[in-house]
Amino acid sequence: MRTLLLTLALVLCGPAAAQSGELLSPPLPEPEASEEQPALPEELPAPSLPPGTARNRLPDQTAEVLQPGEGQFNLFYLQYSRGLLPGLQLSAQLGAYLLTLVNLTAEYQIVDRDELRASVELGAYWFALSPVLAINALQVHLTPRVTVPLGGDFELNLAPTLRAQVLALPGLSQNVRDLRGEVSLIRYDPFGAWMLQGRFPLLTQQTLHVDELLGQANVTGSLLLDDLDSWGVVLFRDQLIGDTAHLRFGLGYRRRPGLLLADSLGNLILQFDLYWR
């Protein structure tokens, strides 16, 4: 049972650290005029760029969403995302279904201005074997994202996340709520992007209720933890590969060791992911 609960916790924590991305083909080289080859006439139509423009190259980090009909697959977390309607994107972590975690995440872009873009993401995971195993596990998270262009090729992204988990077993129930923040400075280039990301968990509140403990009945306890010491910083490189894939590699430091593979390896944050669109 303990192993099962640990597995559930790992999978529930995975999406918060999950990375997904999006592909942009490198800009086509501009034709150069030379003496041997006359310049192209100006009335020729400009080559059309693929739907993934620079603005939605990294939709998991920015307040951008996939365009309708556009889809991408995230290899490491087995997550598939698809633009459904203008401004609306749905995602599902397919790997979680193997553990019977029914999950769906929706992101909607609510502001799209030159100075500011903003979106809201709402997602839920539910343990589908709850009726059989008498284990109720549910997680809901809410993530508003804000993207502010800083001029040139720079962008700053802010993304606080509020997450709530409910775990109920016979004779025991646990509620966990946590709040964390994420700040990302991105610099785009024709071959991908560099991203410097700071992560700062703020607080965790846990409430535990047991029907019986050490001879006492109906014991309830609440614990409010300050998580600031678990801050971390990661440098990512998102590299385009051809027209349909890109990979992301991240190396960073987390002051307090986190969940193995989901947060860090000890104090070391090491992330790798590959995306198809």
């Binding site: 502010v148 001029g151 040139g152 802010l158 400075l185 610099r187 607080l203 300050d226």
Partner: protein, 173 residues
């Protein structure tokens, strides 16, 4: 990457700052306790600034209110009031900006404990010093802003993470 951003910033600067600016923020005060851990409290902040100083300087004043309510049979209610003088320097980046401010402050904390028959209260005041780093974006005369505020008082280092908006009026510079 940060150095490149700073070098590029003067070319991206816009100076359409109104004369006065007032706004509010909603945040989380991470108040440090004696044991070193921090207790989160909801916090409200009101800000007033005068932006027509030479260069990127601005004079700022902020008032912050946070509270904690606990107990059922014996109830306690603690209020924290802080008044900060915050001169600021801004780094504009297109329509976005970073701002860094620092200055002294005065902190008043009032705690009361009460049950059905009795109540007791005490007021404590102390000087403090603080600094804040904020990031925001200008949308006309409105600014959206988020930031981190660190306040030091003897034996205590509090942190506030907040976000809010402000409105400017007066002639733009």
């Amino acid at each position: 990457m940060l150095a490149m951003l700073l070098v590029a910033s003067p070319a991206l600067a816009q100076s359409l700052t109104p004369e006065w600016r007032a706004g509010g923020e909603l945040g989380l005060l991470m108040r440090q306790e004696a044991g070193g851990q921090r207790t989160p409290l909801p916090a409200l902040t009101a800000r007033l600034s005068y932006d027509h100083l030479p260069g990127p300087l601005a004079a700022g004043l902020s008032y912050q209110f946070a509270f904690a309510r606990e107990g059922t049979v014996v109830r306690s209610f603690t209020q924290h009031h802080r008044l900060h003088l915050r001169p600021q320097v801004s780094l504009p980046l297109g329509t976005a900006f970073f701002s860094l401010g620092a200055g002294p402050g005065l902190q008043l904390s009032h705690s009361s404990v009460a049950d059905a028959q009795r109540s007791y209260g005490a007021l404590v005041s102390r000087w403090c010093a603080g600094a804040e780093l904020a990031f925001g974006v200008r949308l006309g005369r409105t600014q959206l802003r988020t930031g981190v505020d660190v306040t030091y008082a003897p034996g205590r280092l509090d942190l506030v993470v907040g976000m809010g908006a402000s409105f400017g009026w007066g002639d733009p510079r």
